[in-house]
């Protein structure tokens, strides 16, 4: 495989994506669109980081929200209580989530399928209840109130909407690019092998447990970045960030967008956010409506939007991407 070739191709795509994102505010000055893109930056990175586990690792985590919330709280607390600069707080959030991933992952990744799902869910709920009960630090069910300070760094002032928009976009594109490169690296292919045939991987000398653990830590760290973007956007952190519905939504984003195409989860995130916006406008029975949509996709279509697109435009010839997930 020509690794420099892939690298420059991925870089090119990232730059084009960044240019498109940067151009959006010039075409429409709508605050609504800009806010949507910022939220999409957070949820897109969040869903893609979960897809490292689900799509590439075959580990269906139902507790990924612990890293989203964990990142948001770590970032917010570092800004509020320690008064660090934004890059330092972001780094802190990443380190915190990676450590959390190391501890939880060390216990969980040994377990098989459904057992793994439930245990990650249990850990996320533990995180949730810790946040609720540790009033003095987290503000309990009120969330991290009082706003997050946004000191200027390197000439970037995040209290300016325009700057925040660009910052979130750059962060998201960089994260997506990094994850893509990781998944195209030897590590990424080892992870796929572990997913498809752990026995064989073990015979070939791959440390299965370690590979899964690394994937778990990585995906946790990226979810921490997503949480930090969200914390910056809402200027706070709320216990709902770690609630199980957040994990469930991330899983649905992946299914909705399609887990066979790298960018699928981001597409799914955008679609689900639009669904949510429409649903909440017409009814307060949000769960009922969302539940029915989930059922239609899970039992009816059984695949995501990008999978349909791939089938439509690249019949048979482009099986390489599609074969990535054979479960």
């Amino acid at each position: 495989m020509n690794s420099t070739g892939t690298l420059s191709k991925e870089l090119l795509i990232a730059i084009v994506a960044m240019l498109i994102l940067a151009a959006i505010p010039f075409f429409t000055p709508s605050r609504l669109i800009a806010d949507f893109v910022i939220r999409l930056a957070a949820f897109g990175v969040f869903a893609t980081s979960l897809n490292i586990l689900i799509g590439y690792g075959g580990m269906v985590s139902f507790g990924h929200a612990m890293f989203f919330g964990g990142g948001a709280y770590a970032f917010g607390l570092l800004m509020q209580k320690a008064g660090t600069s934004i890059p330092l707080a972001l780094l802190g959030a990443i380190v915190f989530c990676a450590l959390l991933g190391l501890i939880v992952g060390a216990i969980c990744v040994r377990l098989k399928e459904i057992y793994f799902s439930f245990l990650t869910l249990a850990f996320a709920m533990l995180t949730y209840s810790v946040i609720l009960s540790w009033m003095s630090l987290t503000g309990g069910d009120q969330g991290l109130m009082g706003g997050i300070p946004r000191p200027v760094f390197l000439g970037i002032d995040l209290s300016n909407g325009q700057h925040l928009y660009w910052f979130a976009c750059v962060l998201a594109v960089v994260c997506l690019l990094l994850m893509r490169l990781l998944m195209q690296s030897p590590f990424g292919y080892t992870l796929r092998m572990v997913r498809d045939n752990p026995e064989r991987a073990r015979f070939l000398g791959v440390d299965v447990w370690r590979t899964r653990l690394y994937a778990f830590v990585l995906s946790g760290a990226f979810a921490g970045v997503a949480g930090s973007i969200m914390a910056l956007f809402v200027s706070g952190a709320y216990p709902e960030f770690t609630y199980w519905t957040m994990s469930g939504e991330a899983i649905f984003m992946i299914l909705l967008g399609g887990l066979h195409v790298y960018i699928g989860p981001v597409v799914g995130a955008a679609l689900l956010m639009m669904f949510n916006d429409v649903i909440t406008r017409y009814t307060d029975l949000h769960g009922l409506a969302l539940g029915i949509i989930v059922l239609i996709f899970a039992l009816g279509f059984k695949r995501g939007i990008t999978d349909f697109a791939v089938r439509l435009f690249r019949p048979a010839s482009k099986k390489k991407e599609t074969r990535q997930v054979t479960t």
């Binding site: 439930f118 869910l121 299914l255 949000h286 539940g291 029915i292 989930v294 059922l295 899970a298």
Partner: protein, 300 residues
Amino acid sequence: MNPQELFECVTSLSCIVTQTSTGLIVGALLFLVAAGLTLIFGVLGVINFAHGSLYMLGAYMGLTAYRLFDNYFLAVILAGLGVALFSVVFERLFMRRVYNADVLMQLLVCYAFILILDDVVKLVWGAEFQSMGMPETFQLPPLFIGGGVVPVFYLVLMTVAALIAVVLWYVLKHTRTGKVVRAAAHNPTMTSALGLNTQLIYAGVFACGGLLAGMAGALAAPVRSMSPGMGFSILIESFIVTVIGGMGSVSGALVGALVIGMVRSFGSIGFPDFVEGLMFVAMVLILVLRPGGLMGRKQS
């Protein structure tokens, strides 16, 4: 954190009696829910993430039945049957389609149902907290055993739960139905090759799980308040119970439920803010030391 008080409690008989009775109640209710969860897992190999919602449905159905007929035991039975019926529909129409699909799909179907059922309950019974109130029959002065206070209703609950546990044990171990169910758990292909209707067994196991969860919900109604979304915490707790006891083992669920009941009840004296944490610590210890659980045969 107050280990001092915990120490004082375990040295006084009255406190031990009071806390043990509370622990037994918590454990008994958890057992009913966890037994269904572990039974479904043992036979079908899927974890019913929507199991907590069945408990919630049972509580609300019990509330309505109690208001209609003014008879607590009838309400419990009706709630159990109602949830069992719902479980069969849920299994036949939805879960059946994802048995052979990957975990992702099973998870999503259950996720959808938790969302839907929470909203259905909100629609039918309202979003605010509700309570059944103590039935008049049991509004008696509490008993004093060794100086400890034990409400009469607690004894009723324990008796009913124990009765259900004995019936469950008898059916599984000593009847033909039980044998067939165990055979289906062990080797479904062989069982169906022998001419037994495995699809019927699957629906039956789901009905049984629903019956147990529904009855537990209605049984608990006089002592717990209900609200949409109440099913989720009991789902997590009964999962912890099944992990401690061993997935797929009903007797393990009993042991696990009692352990968690006691941890909750005594832990709330010594570490009131960390009760939930204690349960997780217990679970993680079991997972690290004995991944198969206390009574489990299968390696997770």
